[in-house]
Symmetry: C2
Subunit: 204 residues, 2 copies
Amino acid sequence: MTSPKSSNLTWHGANVTSDEREGILGQKGCVLWLTGLSASGKSTIARRLEQLLLERKVTAYVLDGDNLRMGLNKDLGFSPADRAENIRRVGAVAQLFADAGTVCITAFISPYREDRDLARSLNLPGRFIEVHVSTSLEACEARDPKGLYKKARAGQIPEFTGISAPYEVPMAPEITLDTENRDVDECAYQLVQDLRQRGFIPAA
Amino acid sequence: MTSPKSSNLTWHGANVTSDEREGILGQKGCVLWLTGLSASGKSTIARRLEQLLLERKVTAYVLDGDNLRMGLNKDLGFSPADRAENIRRVGAVAQLFADAGTVCITAFISPYREDRDLARSLNLPGRFIEVHVSTSLEACEARDPKGLYKKARAGQIPEFTGISAPYEVPMAPEITLDTENRDVDECAYQLVQDLRQRGFIPAA
């Protein structure tokens, strides 16, 4: 962790404590960090989970890899340095959402352990839940909904995770989701139950 | 607006429409963009407003200049280019909060018109409310709670807004707040009333 570039900064705390905020909102902020290969199902599970939570009146929001690369992170490419900066910014934004009391669901390949650990370190202990969407490369490549694996195999996309760039499997994720033997709904419901058990959202 | 660096991106929409989300949450997302000199009262008003909204069970969150410069924007200084990038990122994050249905209150000097207009352009029409905290330089310098004006006058802080860097007054802000003849509570309550009148939060 480096120091900020300016030294003339003063931290401004909210007038309302986190406990007060969470008491009012009836939920606790957290980050559900989905990591996995392209086409592993991260975005689909994230969107379904967001829907299930909103239906239960829980404030939830998805930060999605492609969407953020069209906005906040549009200046970044896919080199290791740019990927690291991409995830650093996403981690910082996810922490803001968690601080706001929102259940923040992130859907980024986030292939490097170091970057995921940095995102984790920005959050309060217990507030960062790493979810490995563990779909195999073979299954992802067979799905290939955007035709990206085909392009990557043809050498048309450099540094494509799983083909020409590494994916570092999480060592100790809080949750592992097997999408090859379970459908999206099952995976999303499991996450709702997990959020309940961890006390982030009210019991049913 | 430049194009994103990668062309292999697919926009992923939520399963829930914005209308559905806002119906469930009982509020509409928006950005209340406070701009003004250092010590003009931006952060204090923002924090008081956030408190008033939370007390009314409205999900609200403050993005504060100094805080973001310790996190998301810690790599940025105060040159015109870095200030522009600071505000570009904040604008993108504020838009995400508004998209999530949150009343997002930003408290940044944001001295350049072009940067504020860019932040405005990222949001849906009517969802960006520019609030000029119009405290005069003389009053801000007399307050000087962090001693920054004194340092700036002594040449110890380069590019300090109002002293050695410009502040471009908003041409057509939605709201102007006079903090020299009204206290913080009056200003914050005015903003609550304005949010009601614009239909972002429920009537009292």
